[in-house]
């Protein structure tokens, strides 16, 4: 099996999950909402403050996690369990299995980032924000941070496959 097949299987698995982590969906939805709110807030010039940027990053992470978390963990009773543990005895190529998830993660973050960035610029162009050059790239910073955060989280979870 090649990398493409692993990616395809991951996508199919996620689509068909009956127990598609509803708690995560709710958190993600709230994150999305807050994220959108801050994009709008940015458009009205309320964003050139550090604490707002921090919230902005958190919202981005939560929103992108909506897609990514079900690929690396599942809910079991009250706990979340790593999917890597579930595949410990399956005949998988571990490297490709992990790489497929990484590719999906980065792809989604980038796809999520592009429209947000466009909206951001449109919003900023309509206001008199003083820090346009900095705030204009907040979505990019948020995306990079989100990817780094998810990568770190995945590294922790992957240990259950490698050990």
């Amino acid at each position: 099996m090649d990398l493409r097949t692993y990616i395809k299987l991951d996508k199919e698995y996620k689509k068909s999950l009956e127990s598609y982590y509803p708690r995560n969906l709710c958190i993600g939805a709230v994150g999305m909402f807050l994220f959108c709110m801050f994009v709008v807030a940015g458009a009205f010039g309320l964003m050139d403050r550090t604490f707002v940027f921090n919230i902005y990053i958190i919202c981005f992470i939560i929103a992108t996690s909506l897609y990514f978390w079900p690929l690396i963990q599942v809910r079991e009773n009250f706990f979340t369990v790593s999917i890597f543990r579930k595949f410990r005895n399956a005949p998988i190529n571990k490297k490709l299995f992990i790489r497929a998830k990484l590719i999906l993660m980065i792809r989604f973050s980038v796809l999520f980032y592009i429209p947000v960035q466009i909206l951001h610029f449109i919003g900023l162009n309509r206001t008199d924000t003083s820090c346009l050059s900095i705030t204009g790239f907040w979505p990019l910073c948020a995306m990079v941070t989100a990817v780094a955060f998810q990568l770190l989280y995945m590294k922790i979870r992957v240990r259950e496959l490698m050990n």
Binding site: L17, K86, R88, A90, P91, K94, N163
Partner: protein, 244 residues
């Protein structure tokens, strides 16, 4: 004869425990029972086969494939059956099979459903709703579906009543006969060994004490029961040790 499983001089050293030069093999179509006290190293041997510990010396081969370097190939032809929860708890039996089957080179839905029917398990039942015994049977159905060369079972019958154990062992025998597969199973129950094992391997403190076929063991050892006084009179039993 082709070998389904080979342990060649396998050693693993931890600060408080070691697997010491373990060497044995199992031919295709045979059943081997692995016995030993708690903490003797039985589960460690299974984990070594699963490639969960890599810093061992020697080699472990399943159907000629090295467990360390050809892990995916080994797992494709080995069915690991244990109490460990490696399936998706919140998903149905059928959905679990659908998730895992693309990763196996061979998957036989007919066999899967045949065994599920035989065990009277519905494919729509969620794994979390299965009892321990039914979960064990489901694992067997799942294993048969990918036609493994080797079934590795870590204490599969522990904690079950004799009727269930008898049924389970009979099923194992049928599978071995039908599939020409091999079985390595660990147990504390010597009556299980009596019923189905062709070979018995005894491990103690990380070392293999013996690996012999059941007939040889029966020739070499006898079980004598009776009052200690009788043994003393006959001179069979002295200072708490057998004296042949």
């Amino acid at each position: 004869m082709e070998k389904a499983l080979e342990f060649n001089h396998v050693s693993l050293i931890w600060p408080d425990f070691k697997i010491d030069d373990v060497t044995f093999s199992l031919e295709k179509g045979y059943i081997m029972g692995l016995v030993g006290y708690n903490g003797a190293g039985k589960t460690t041997l299974f984990r070594l086969m699963e490639n969960r510990y890599r810093n061992y010396s020697g080699e472990i081969l399943v159907d000629g494939y090295d467990c360390r370097t050809q892990e995916a190939k080994v797992k494709n032809i080995t069915a690991f059956i244990s109490d460990e929860q490696i399936f998706f708890f919140e998903e149905s039996i059928k959905r679990n099979a659908e998730i895992y089957c693309p990763y196996y080179s061979v998957w036989d839905w007919d066999s899967f459903y045949k065994y599920l029917d035989m065990f009277e398990i519905s494919g729509e039942t969620k794994i979390r709703n299965l009892s321990r015994g039914t979960f064990l049977k489901f694992q067997l159905a799942f294993a048969v579906a990918h036609h493994p060369v080797l079934y590795a079972m870590d204490e599969p019958t522990a904690g079950f009543d004799p009727v269930f154990r008898y049924d389970f062992l009979r099923i194992i025998q049928n599978i071995v006969a039908e599939e020409n597969a091999s079985v390595l199973f660990s147990t504390h129950n010597t009556s299980d060994l009596d019923k189905i094992a062709d070979y018995i391997t005894m491990i103690d403190n990380g070392r293999i004490l013996f690996c012999k076929d059941v007939e040889t063991l029966r020739d070499e050892y006898r079980l004598i029961s009776g009052d200690n006084r009788l043994f003393k009179i006959s001179g069979l039993f002295e200072k708490g040790r057998w004296n042949r």
